[in-house]
């Protein structure tokens, strides 16, 4: 009986303030869309980091005939230096496995990766030999790098992250922009919810005053107002999730179809979980907080 009463009152409120309800739905939708977008970009960042850590191997390039005096003061690597480096790598607790890539191996890989226009002037002895090292803990990459660069016979231990760093930075920036827009729009939606509640409270002041007089509990008086805001936000959150799903399905889906795109990307299943539930949750929490705050102001019980 009382549940039916609350639902009826809430429905009446939603109908009476139809335009405001639509405004709340749309603003909530836009704000939660940007919020979800930020979450997805972060998910993409962690996918990339995970992939990179899976693939990460430290390359220890050894001095060769074409190395500069500056990098290799002792000249090309000697076999004693090479053996010492291998022994040192294999005994390190940070190292999982060590592969040796000779100049000929490097040349073969080079031929595979690039087309003839580039490769025709390159000979095996121009390419460095190297140790390719897989780590037990990829995040301790830097320690290994520091330990081996500068050792006799080592020309360079390049930092692969120098390539990925700007990409991660760009994606973090995109996340910040998306979350900033989301915050701005969330403020708008809180203000709108508050205005809507004020309007509803005004248009229903007679019902409310009678409910107070006959001794309705505060919860019963306020619940229809809170539910109105929550329902509008939920609808907005569902629409925002739908828009995000469409974006991933069609936008990211198209990227994935391109043959040269081998990176793993966020998928629609990532939208369904966890992004959409988080968006719904945030929408509901904001609506409840906004309505309770404005009820204190506009609906004295």
């Amino acid at each position: 009986m009382r549940l039916g009463f609350v639902v009826r009152e809430m429905g009446a409120g939603l109908r009476r303030n139809f335009t405001m309800t639509v405004a709340v739905v749309l603003v909530t939708m836009v704000s939660l869309f940007f919020f979800g977008l930020g979450l997805l970009v972060q998910q993409q960042v962690s996918i990339l980091k995970g992939d990179w850590y899976d693939r990460v191997q430290v390359s220890v390039f050894l001095c060769g005939p074409v190395s500069t005096e500056e990098d290799c003061p002792t000249g090309a690597v000697t076999s004693a230096q090479r053996d010492a480096l291998r022994a040192q790598l294999e005994s390190s607790p940070l190292v999982d496995r060590v592969f040796y890539e000779s100049q000929q191996d490097a040349y073969d890989n080079f031929l595979e990766q690039f087309d003839d226009a580039i490769t025709e002037n390159v000979t095996p002895d121009q390419l460095p030999e190297s140790f390719r090292v897989r780590l037990t803990d990829p995040s301790r990459y830097q320690e290994v790098r520091e330990q081996f660069s500068g050792q006799p016979g080592v020309e360079d231990v390049p930092d692969d992250r120098a390539v990925l760093g700007p990409l991660f930075a760009a994606m973090d920036g995109a996340t910040r922009v998306a979350l900033g827009l989301a915050a701005l729009m969330l403020v708008c939606s809180v203000l709108l919810v508050s205005t809507t509640i004020r309007l509803t409270a005004f248009s229903r002041r007679r019902e409310v005053s009678i409910m107070r007089l006959v001794g309705a509990s505060r919860a019963l008086i306020q619940l229809p107002f809170v539910l109105e805001g929550v329902i509008a936000s939920l609808v907005g959150a569902v629409l925002a999730s739908g828009a995000l799903y469409a974006l991933v399905e069609f936008g990211v889906g198209r990227l994935r179809e391109r043959p040269d795109f081998t990176t793993r990307l966020v998928e629609t299943s990532d939208v369904l979980f966890p992004t959409a539930p988080v968006m719904l949750g945030v929408g509901v929490v904001f609506a409840v907080v906004a309505s309770l705050l404005s009820l204190r102001r506009w609906l004295r019980v």
Partner: protein, 229 residues
Amino acid sequence: MITFEHVSKVYGEGNRPALAEVTLQVDRGDFVFLVGPSGSGKSTFLRLVLKEEKASSGTVQVAGRDVGRLRSWKVPALRRQIGVVFQDFRLLADKSVFENVAFALQVLGKPRHVIAQSVPETLALVGLGGKERRRPHELSGGEQQRVAIARAFVNRPALLLADEPTGNLDPETSVGIMKLLDRINRTGTTIVMATHDDDIVDQMRKRVVELRDGRVVRDEDRGVYGSSR
């Protein structure tokens, strides 16, 4: 039923008190007229009983409870024991007579079968049997006030407060309303009615409490409206 001890009420800083040092007791089953010119504090008295306002000083007790110290979440429970009727009826225009009365029970979560039984019963008691489906605007002023009384009484409160219930009605209709209130009083319900309708007070010969500038200047059993007029 109601006990006021040295109750004062000041609305806002620097105003003169709307009620000043009022000490008064209303027993269970009493019928009390609260009379006095407009602005003398009658409505304020009723609002303090309902805890619509808080006394500035003194203690207000209703049904044995100290209203001033009542926690806010317990106020609804207090108001369920009190029915209220106003000069302007305060009916919901988009609800039928039946729905207006049923509203008071729905809000309290009363089951459907209880509502289906007590609403027609109460409407018959106030003399509106057969008019359940009318809208308020299809009724006369007296009938609308009867709907308001039915809504106040449907929950069988121990106390009924009426703030100038005949203020908008012609004398004949007012007499009908007074007979109804008298009948309700005979069921054991305590009634406090604020009014400045001297004819009615003189006819009923009930207890009269006269307020003037917020002070009780007269408290008489079987009194008339005023010696001073």
